[in-house]
């Protein structure tokens, strides 16, 4: 392969650049054609995409089972929210990138703390530890006045409006770009990771832990690695969520939030990144735009009646989810 330098560079950054251009166009289309509520839901969908694919790395590719990922999301959300309200008073557009990355890093550190001791445990014990960890984070947040305690944290900013001549880039559009950037980066990093040697190690742990050990894979290390990477992206999804909603409350990050992501991952297919993306977007829109009115009418979170039914039926009738371990491109690839 004798690629010219230009071709080489394009090979490595082509996809990210193209996807960000794609998000820029998509953002313009959404802003031009929909109302503010739908725009808000779109940002939420982007946060959910990152949330779901990050959970898929642990639950789908590595075969572990975390039911407390809302905890990591909360860490990322609160770090980014705190930085943007208390530390940097009037954040510029580029500040939002490092806010999210800081949120991700703190979440990753939390993931390491939880993962290192508990990943020696077998599947269902791990599940219960992650659940406990998520609850502990929530109790700590409720008891921390610096981040608003049980009242929550409000007035989380979005980027300031930029005006180019008579044309204005709204705060929503700018943050849509930031969120789109992180969706693209998360997806591409996870995609390339799962298709690399390290990704094979994750898969081997999922398929047969003992066989993986026999082939010389340090399964504990691999599991911790998957957990830390996953919680990093989960933290980023939290940051996106924080600036999308502009308000945070500890009661958002309950077990229910973790179940959100589990449903998306299970529905899309454990071990299919594109499946998670499709499921995340689909479920977000279905729940927010379709069921919100019904829910408000009867006053009960109908979502939580439908989610469990989806989970049970899928587990019994189609345990591999819609996509199984296939990815979207596999559908039109020749066998």
């Amino acid at each position: 392969m004798n690629d010219t330098p230009v071709k080489k560079i394009w090979k490595s950054i082509g996809t990210p650049v193209l996807s960000i251009v794609g998000f820029a166009i998509l953002g313009q289309l959404i802003e031009g054609s929909t109302n503010q509520y739908v725009q808000l839901v779109c940002l939420g969908a982007l946060a959910n995409i990152i949330f779901a694919i990050s959970l898929n790395l642990v639950n789908g590719f590595t075969g572990q089972f975390s039911i407390g990922h809302a905890g990591f999301m909360a860490v990322g959300a609160y770090v980014s929210g705190y930085l943007s309200t208390e530390v940097v008073k009037v954040p510029g557009l580029f500040d939002f990138f490092w806010f999210a990355i800081a949120g991700g890093l703190v979440a990753a550190a939390a993931g390491y703390v939880v993962g290192l001791p508990s990943l020696r445990l077998r599947g269902d014990y791990l599940a219960i530890v992650t659940l406990g960890f998520g609850e502990i984070i929530r109790v700590i947040l409720i008891n921390t006045p610096a981040v608003g305690g049980a009242r929550g944290m409000g007035n989380i900013p979005r980027p300031v409006q930029v005006e180019i001549g008579e044309y204005a880039l709204t705060p929503w559009y700018l943050y849509f770009l930031v969120a789109g950037f992180f969706v693209a980066i998360s997806f591409i990093v996870l995609w390339r990771l799962t298709h690399s040697t390290h990704g094979r190690a994750f898969l081997s742990v999922r398929e047969d832990e003992i066989a993986a050990q026999a082939m010389g894979i340090d399964t504990t290390k691999v599991k911790v690695r998957a957990f830390v990477i996953s919680s990093f992206f989960c933290g980023i999804s939290g940051a996106v969520f924080a600036h999308a909603n502009q308000y945070l409350n500890p009661s958002t990050f309950t077990f229910t939030k973790s179940v959100d992501a589990i449903v998306m991952v299970v529905l899309g297919g454990l071990g299919s990144l594109t499946g998670s993306v499709v499921a995340a977007v689909g479920i977000t829109f279905l729940m927010e735009l379709g069921l919100r009115q019904v829910t408000e009418m009867i006053g009960i979170d109908l979502r939580m009646v439908i989610y469990p039914l989806i989970l049970i039926f899928f587990m019994i009738l189609r345990p591999q989810g819609i996509f199984g371990t296939k990815e979207l491109p596999d559908l039109w690839r020749r066998r």
Partner: protein
């Protein structure tokens, strides 16, 4: 005696009485885990349904039959029987519809299903019963039996402890001395070999669910008697704590579940009394994580090596 030690005795009484409730519920978790290696998340919702069954039983007897139940020992027995029947039917149904089709599926799938069933019952409960808390009927009149200075021994604590000990003893006797109990132990140690010896494994699993669920029903009545406020989400937290108790004692071991339940009840009472009440719920999980790190098999559990 000083005030401090009298107060301490009071907390001891409260803790043991709370602990025996945890123990009853923990037994259900531990039995199912011993046989299916499944954390039956729906167990806490079975418990919740038990409380509502008693609530509606009292309502129905007074509206349909026109009999007003007088608070007393007979009412307690009646409600316990009702809750046990409703809970066993529910437990059996869950096993039949949700878990049996997945008997041969990977463990993760069954776990996800269990979470699904739990959430479904919680939210179906909110739809059916309404989300607002209801008052549990008056089962018995409470009275003080004995006082030690500030500390007092109340009738409820004695009844809770007595009923708890009765059912735990009955269960232990059943497991150790009857044919069904023997079959349960056999299935728990190796289901395949047990089926080769002519044991109907599905039947035994069904029996396990019936027993575990009816104990949750008993627990529901005892809790309802002591803390008379019931709501569809009441199971989640107490179920989780009972589960922690089961893990603490060593999941799969009956004595362990009882021991874990009592330790859990005592610890929680002491944390609230002497440390801080806001961290009460975080404490249970902190305890769980510590145990799993230092003694993953629990206090009385046996560490098992996974075989190839």
């Amino acid at each position: 005696m000083s005030d401090f030690s009298q107060e301490f005795i009071q907390h001891l009484i409260n803790g043991i009485s709370l602990g025996s409730i945890y123990a009853l519920i923990a037994l259900g978790y531990t039995m199912v885990y011993g046989i299916l290696q499944l954390i039956n998340f729906a167990h806490s919702e079975v418990y919740m349904i038990g409380a509502f069954a008693a609530y509606y039983a009292v309502k129905l007897t007074s509206t349909v039959l026109g009999v007003t139940l007088v608070p007393g020992f007979l009412t307690l027995v009646f409600l316990i029987v009702v809750a046990m029947i409703v809970c066993s039917v529910l437990g059996l149904t869950i096993e039949r519809l949700a878990y049996r089709p997945l008997r041969k599926a990977p463990k993760l799938n069954i776990l996800i299903t269990a979470i699904g069933v739990s959430l479904l019952l919680q939210n179906a409960g909110q739809l059916l019963f309404g989300a607002d808390p209801k008052f549990f009927p008056n089962v018995m009149e409470d009275s003080t039996l004995a006082t030690f200075g500030v500390a007092e021994l109340r009738l409820f604590d004695v009844v809770v402890l007595g009923v708890g000990v009765f059912f735990m003893t009955a269960l232990t006797w059943m497991i150790q001395n009857t044919k069904t109990g023997k079959a349960m132990r056999a299935v728990s140690s190796n289901a395949t070999v047990a089926s080769l010896m002519g044991i109907n494994v599905n039947y035994i699993i069904g029996i396990t669910f019936v027993i575990g669920s009816s104990l949750a029903g008993v627990g529901a009545i005892l809790v309802g008697m002591k803390y008379p406020k019931i709501e569809p989400l009441m199971g989640a937290l107490i179920g989780l704590k009972a589960f922690v108790a089961a893990v603490l004692g060593g999941i799969g071991s009956l004595t362990g579940a009882v021991l874990g339940g009592v330790i859990m009840g005592l610890c929680e009472e002491m944390v609230v009394a002497y440390l801080s009440s806001t961290y009460r719920d975080a404490f249970a999980f902190g305890l769980l994580i510590l145990i799993l790190i230092f003694r993953p098999a629990g206090l009385l559990g046996k560490a098992s090596q996974e075989k190839v």
